[in-house]
Symmetry: C2
């Protein structure tokens, strides 16, 4: 199995791109990644996209982007796992290069969330839930996350304020990221007063859907050493699943797919929790951050929120998370988010993160979740 | 790079399954494949599905199927390339096993076309065309294929009857396949009298959208030899793309992605046209079959239809195609079709094709197309 490294990165700003279509966003990120790696083309393109069909009436985005970005007939297709689509595409690119079938692969995540708005957006977004047992009854991702959060608060006797530091941290970091969607700061106490979205999940708790595209270029670690000064190696790539629906889980507060994919990743990389210098987790809601920290072994059950409360998740803390703002402040261009995480982790490991730099970052973990962790895809990157 | 073999196959009948959902069809095919390989579980699941979001309001089908089929938390995600989704999933499974990351992978194709009907079906089906330059103007796949067919007839001076033998052959073979959707025979001359769908494409020319699921189990060739009496090796796996839209092609009648993916596949496998014992091509329309035979090098430009006319595509011909009925008679459960092709090729290579058997079949080529060959994914299988 060949070792795989990232030699190029590109990203568009995250936000509402009313003047750009899927192909335009994607081509911008592709060009930025090609420029960064100083290569002219690649052998294959794997696209992470979650809602092209339902947001934009557009699938077969692999061929679309290969064509529009001028990549001239190369292999291309799309990988989809709901909101974990970016992770799925990254894993496919990793497998392609690791196998020896492909020398250089471009992995791009792209989403055009603003192609639908209002209730049509909610319906389009709901396709990644269980159509027959969740979406048909009107459940939405925030509504289901709210059930988890309420249960957590009940089970562990914590109130809303336990979660506010996740959002405060995300916006503190996103405020310094020129690509982030919401760069405003959240003041202590403001979280508790924010308008409810799906009680107890409020406006300052929910990550915003957004438009954006991000890209990474993968090649063998051997070739990478000749190409760029700081290749970033992918030292683990692991995926796992859980039940689609919450009602089938024996323990609502244990994210089994997170635990399983992290365990597999640690085994592959030969690392443990203490080795992770930063963790770009899927902070779609603060409850997901808390449960992820617990399932990944950074905190015992019921204690994940304390890492935020105690300031350990900041850039200078024991476990920095959402270092460029995360889904909450950088924004959540859904199928692209997993690739934004990869781009941000590479910036950290190159020491090129500027005001968002985590000092001496050597090992970064990134994780894409689909649904409420029905799919979890984890990668560990290292310099 | 590890060699990869198919050790298990499963398929549901193709047709209108009003009583079964995506997950039910998929689970039936999964169970059949597990039974066939005599294994209890696998390490990963890759799903080919083209229109889950637009037909069935269901994405994240990897996790859904892994869950419902009782595969207990394994890695799973979906691969999509329009109508070439089955091929994309097969390629991903191949890469996963070839790389060494995964020991045993289940690749399933599933589609529930009957979840939408009438004009809603047309809209849902159109997402794999170019949304901004084709679908928005009301173009459909049959309408675009009709443009190609008209151009072919004009350019090469042939009439409709040049194409009828593709459909006659498909139904002759499909009539003997218990899993096929339409087992009726098409009589010579009936083709020319069939009602028009999109002139000159008529009812007997167009492959019917259908429901169905098919599955194959992949593992290393080394392990396969211990597991089953007749492992079928995947000796080539190759993908390529072309422009999304017809109007950007310099030569409308050359399917560039077909030519490119076949060339790559031949190079990997070390075979040539003359070595192919049967070819499961993407016969969504007879014009696509003719153009595919030409682009793949089995006929010179303008002569592809002669292979049909001269009876060379039959089970005892020089190049059998659509040996179980192809998309036209077996039916086109879109994202599943590429995996049906794999299942059928394995049956042929095992010598287990019954009345559909191609004598002494040793090398089979299968090919999935997205759009009008905007994506082409080719595999070559061998015993």
């Amino acid at each position: 199995m060949r070792k795989v490294a990232i030699v190029g990165i590109g990203q568009t700003p995250v936000g509402e791109h009313w003047d750009a279509s899927i192909r335009m966003l994607a081509a911008d990120a592709v060009q930025a990644a090609l420029d960064d790696a100083q290569v002219k083309t690649v052998d294959a393109l794997y696209v992470g996209n979650a809602y092209g069909a339902s947001f934009s009436s557009q699938s077969q985005i692999g061929a679309l982007v290969a064509d529009y970005a001028g990549l001239g007939g190369i292999e291309a297709f799309t990988c989809e796992a709901g909101d974990a689509s970016g992770g799925a595409a990254l894993r496919t690119g990793y497998l392609a290069v690791a196998s020896g079938a492909v020398e250089t692969a471009l992995v791009i995540g792209v989403e055009k969330s603003s192609d639908t708005v209002s209730t049509a957006h909610v319906r389009a977004r709901n396709v990644s839930l269980d159509a027959d047992f969740e979406a048909v009854h009107g459940a939405t991702l925030p509504a289901l996350a709210a059930l988890l959060m309420r249960r957590y608060m009940h089970e562990y006797g914590v109130d809303l304020s336990a979660f506010e530091n996740f959002s405060i941290n995300a916006h503190a970091n996103g405020g310094k990221n020129a690509k982030a969607m919401y760069r405003n700061q959240i003041k202590p106490g403001a979280f508790a007063r924010a308008p409810m979205v799906s009680d107890p999940i409020n406006l300052f708790d929910s990550a915003p859907d957004a438009d954006g595209a991000a890209a990474v270029i993968l090649t063998t670690a051997e070739r990478a050493a000749d190409l760029v000064p700081t290749p970033v190696e992918i030292i683990a790539s692991a995926a796992a699943t859980d039940t689609m629906t919450l009602h089938e889980r024996s323990n609502l507060l244990h994210l089994r797919a997170v635990a399983s994919s992290v365990a597999k990743a640690y085994q592959q990389a030969g690392v443990a929790n203490g080795d992770i210098d930063l963790f770009e987790l899927h902070d779609a809601f603060t409850i997901v951050s808390a449960l992820t920290l617990e399932a990944a072994g950074f905190a015992t059950p019921g204690e994940g929120w304390r890492l935020a409360k105690d300031g350990q998740i900041g850039l200078t803390g024991a476990l920095p998370i959402s270092t460029f703002g995360g889904l909450k402040s950088r924004g959540n261009p859904v199928g692209a988010t997993g690739i934004y995480q990869a781009v941000e982790a590479v910036l950290q490991l190159r020491g090129a993160a500027g005001a968002n730099q985590v000092a001496n970052a050597r090992i970064a973990m990134i994780q894409s979740l689909g649904g409420l962790a029905s799919t979890a895809i984890t990668h560990i990157l290292s310099v």
